[in-house]
Symmetry: C2
């Protein structure tokens, strides 16, 4: 006895995934808020912690505009999590260098997101969650390529 959903789009895979993405985005923002972080600041910091990159390179990787990146880096500096460091080889560029506080902040953010996601994904079996991750990766790869 399938109950007809009120929303005619509820059976559409694409629509469900859009809604799910919005839900998870809000979940992440709510979880990170007590740490004083927005998702995009965390994202930039996480990439900067692994790769020595300029603002524009970070912007491209994270999918931000270089003009938007200015405010993001301003905020990371204000939080004491990164500094702008002039490149010695090209003095137009700022390398974004995480501070000593960054590693701890990244670890706490990861724990925070882990527990927030665990609460939502808790009903999924490990196999289901692994498959979900794999399918999302495949679809994103296909969409990008």
């Amino acid at each position: 006895m399938a109950r007809e959903p009120v929303d005619p789009l509820a059976g559409r895979t694409g629509y469900l995934l859009v809604k799910l993405g919005e839900t998870l985005s809000e979940l992440a923002e709510r979880a990170l808020a007590p740490l004083g972080l927005r998702a995009k600041h965390l994202h930039v910091l996480a990439v900067a912690a692994r790769h020595q990159l300029s603002q524009q390179e970070l912007a491209e990787l994270v999918g931000l505009d270089r003009t938007s990146m200015v405010a993001v880096v301003d905020e990371l500096e204000r939080l004491g999590l990164a500094i702008r460091q002039r490149s010695e080889t090209d003095r137009r560029r700022y390398l974004i260098v995480p501070t000593g506080k960054a590693a701890e902040a990244l670890r706490r953010a990861a724990e925070t997101l882990d527990s927030a996601e665990a609460a939502l994904f808790g009903d999924l079996s490990p196999a289901e969650r692994a498959l979900l991750t794999e399918l999302a990766t495949r679809l994103l790869t296909k969409a990008a390529g």
Copy 2:
């Protein structure tokens, strides 16, 4: 030989699903654009075609503000896909009534989305796609409940 992704968040299920949702949202908007429709107009029209509802009721169901709904209904009227009809029992309310053109527009929009999604989901087996839909539904139900 696992290659380390550039993006440290690429292994996170939540992050992948956020990106996937954004990708699918853009996919839908691009597919619908030639029909002169945005996703939210289609969404409102699809719900209105199934249920006799006022603007505010539609707004709540679709997740829009009642003030935003004004412009959406304006656009549906401009496209000749729906009209505002004063409720006889409560003359403050407008019932949103799809026109004769609406059914055909909804069918073409559904076909357009089907083929756009088919192009992306094409590599998934029917079982994989069904599981993806089921998992998304379960997660959304859990997040909402």
